[in-house]
Symmetry: C2
DNA sequence: GTCTATATCTTGATAGAC
DNA sequence: GTCTATCAAGATATAGAC
């Protein structure tokens, strides 16, 4: 089936982009991993810019769905925040892969304006999700020390992304846990 | 003079690495910026790996000196922490350049083991510096809400690096300020 | 120290057969 | 949809003259 190849390409490309950055993988790499010739990739994604756009679209939708699931499945703000932290923790794969958004920003100059806009939209979505979680945690008193959910949501997204980066530097999830320890102790 | 060329190369390479990542600049770019032919660069830095190692060495020394200066020039922990935050803020250049260490981590697979070790050493140095600042701030009561300087120092480095990244996503220093707002209000 | 010239490899992308 | 064949451009690196 055609669509399976397309999905397989996205899967491999996402993993590669998160492990090595946008400039860190080539059509040759994808071709070998999926088992087709590199020229055939252009049938599914005419340019690498188109591929990266598709990558961000899928990633955004997936994470938004995950966030919504978390907010339905957990009742208190504290439980939701802990679940979100776990979501980012799992995405690390033992410090081998970054959040796609984090990985792409570093290679910013190789990216199309299109993709930059998608990254900004993704970040705005995540900030809004965290904001809602904090508001709930403030209301139900399950998270301590919240003074301003709006500015705090910005700090938490930066912390999550920064902790991803530092865990990758050490290639060790413990580094992520250490960085998130203070925040988790407030739940 | 010979050494001037070497310094000029390091200057241009550092800016390029921080703006576009390690895979985002070439010897051709450096040659054009410095005004020599790309083959001549190999005289100063035989390989790109050697260049990146020299880059990290210089960066580490510079930032360690800056941290020491901050801790001499400011008396309270709060003042020192605010000065450190400003140091990172200035390094952003309106969201156009990242901390060298942040930028290199994302292109990790293109890096030599040598450089990865240097990045880890750099991070350990920064964590130790922040730890000392927090201990002082806890002692002199100039920073509120510190329970554990050790785990908090990890969180703050991750926050600083993450805020760098997010400011770059928006190419706007305000994003950095927003992410650091909560921490600064504790000083 | 810097140059020209060159080697070798890899990149993303296209044309056209099947 | 996938293939072979090919392209032009870019990369890092080396040899040897000056």
């Amino acid at each position: 089936m055609t669509s399976d190849t397309k999905t397989a390409l996205l899967d491999v490309a996402e993993h590669a982009a998160r492990a090595r950055g946008f400039d860190g993988f080539s059509y040759a790499d994808l071709a070998e991993a999926v088992g087709i010739r590199k020229a055939s990739i252009h049938y599914h994604f005419p340019t690498k810019a188109a591929l990266s756009a598709a990558l961000m679209d899928r990633y955004s939708l997936t994470l938004e769905a995950e966030c919504n699931r978390i907010r339905v499945e957990h009742k208190t703000g504290a439980e939701q925040l802990l679940a979100l932290i776990d979501l980012y923790r799992d995405a690390l794969n033992d410090g081998k892969t970054l959040c796609l958004c984090v990985s792409l920003i570093s290679s910013r100059e190789s990216l199309s304006d299109d993709v930059i806009q998608k990254i900004r939209k993704f970040r705005a979505m995540m900030v809004a999700q965290i904001e809602e979680i904090l508001k709930l945690g403030q209301e139900d008193k399950s998270i301590t020390g919240i003074t301003d959910p709006i500015s705090e949501s910005r700090a938490i997204l930066a912390l999550l992304e920064g902790a991803h980066l530092t865990a990758r530097a050490e290639e060790n999830v413990n580094t992520f846990d250490e960085a998130l320890g203070v925040l988790k102790s407030r739940c």
